[in-house]
């Protein structure tokens, strides 16, 4: 426990189990490092590239023809807000990876606009990750990553790359954008892995 702040009482949120250091919001804040890219679904493409260079790709129509799921999850941003029971529609990474032959241990997600984020490949499997294209029953807004973003809710939300364009499967881990700029390589909110060394 930290030192006591004289006169601070705080606003406890009864009954809510949040990761350490997080607080609850009901709106949906936006965090992005630059302007919001405008990505047209007419030219949109998702590419999964294996460690041997084999490419699997889907255009928007092919992607939307894949089996999709209703997803209700809690999300946790490293800037301290958490939002509970958010509703998404998306395609499971299990579906996308089903036909991909790989023994890679790591993944690097890439976005339109140049953003990247890294995570262990097992964190994308077993019903833990999706490419989401709807939020709360509506097409995903551009500032929230539309037309489609990665959704990996068990990690801090910067891992859920907005405007996702592809996933490289890699034998070796490589830090992504925020991971190179002081943020934790893995980012488990329940262990409060915000920054390097946490």
């Amino acid at each position: 426990m930290g030192i006591v702040s004289p006169g601070f009482h705080g606003r406890r949120q009864a009954g809510q189990k949040l990761p350490p250091g997080q607080y609850l919001v009901t709106d949906f804040p936006v965090l992005s490092a630059g302007p919001t890219p405008r990505v047209d679904t007419g030219s949109w493409e998702l590419r999964i590239t294996s460690e041997t260079g084999q490419v699997h790709s889907w255009n928007w129509a092919e992607f939307r023809a894949l089996p999709s799921e209703d997803i209700t999850v809690d999300i946790h941003c490293v800037t301290k807000w958490s939002k509970l029971h958010t509703g998404w529609q998306g395609v499971s990474l299990d579906t996308l990876l089903a036909g991909v032959e790989t023994s890679a241990g790591f993944a690097l997600a890439r976005s339109y606009g140049g953003y990247t984020t890294n995570l262990p490949l097992p964190d994308l499997r077993d019903g833990q990750a999706w490419i989401a294209y709807e939020f709360d029953g509506s097409p995903l807004a551009a500032e929230h990553g539309g037309p489609a973003r990665l959704l990996v809710p068990h990690l801090y939300f910067w891992k859920s790359a907005k405007w996702v364009s592809g996933i490289d499967l890699r034998a070796k881990d490589e830090p992504g954008f925020w991971e190179s700029l002081g943020y934790h390589n893995y980012g488990d909110p329940w262990r409060e892995q915000r920054y390097w060394g946490d």
Binding site: H9, G10, P29, V30, G34, H144, Y195
Partner: protein
Amino acid sequence: MAGTAVLGRLTWQVGTVTALREETSTARTIVVGLPQWPGHLAGQHVDVRLTAEDGYSAQRSYSIASAPANGNLELTVQRLPDGEVSSYLAGALEVGYPLELRGPIGGWFVWEPDTQVPVMLVAGGSGVVPLMAMIRTREAAGNKAPFRLVYSVRSPDTELYKDELAERQRRGDGLDVTYVYTRTTPPGWPVPPGRINAGVLESAGWPPDRRPAVFVCGPTPFVEAVANLLVNAGHDSRLIKTERFGPTGGKS
């Protein structure tokens, strides 16, 4: 100070509030003395942690307002309606109180004083805080890169750092400040209140062919609007760094 992105573990440290300055009726600058402050880059932030007597704690991030200095830093905190942490920092907190924080954090939305390219700063409301750190760092480092600040505020009584910005501009050492008033203008202001627009950014900023480094900070709808205007005006989106705060301002 160089290379202070984030090195090693960011441990919590306990500083002491050495001074408080009321900036407006709802914003306050807190000067914190810290035994071990490694310095920071302009634009970085800290995490502040408040702890109640029963152990309940709350954390928030605040931009650093001051230029890097040994042993202290300044935060300017806008009191938010119903803000759990900001209402304490801009309220009950007094000189002499302990304040727990860790940082500096963030290696992206930073201006490094060894660069000479023109700089364009666009602030909405309290988004001016990290941009003020850049302005102060520029002077502290003797950097002569030309700076232009476009500062959008609701009304004259919500301007942060009003006298300091006026004084810096009067000195004429390469900082230009242009205000945009969205609700109420000062008496005799030449234009009616209104939102920031392409014309203001063009006349008060830099043309895209100068390839300025651009920093935009403010509430999300403000940053979205400004970044889009700048991209549409021909600015290279890779040169535009943004920091957004607050809600989206609607369902999205």
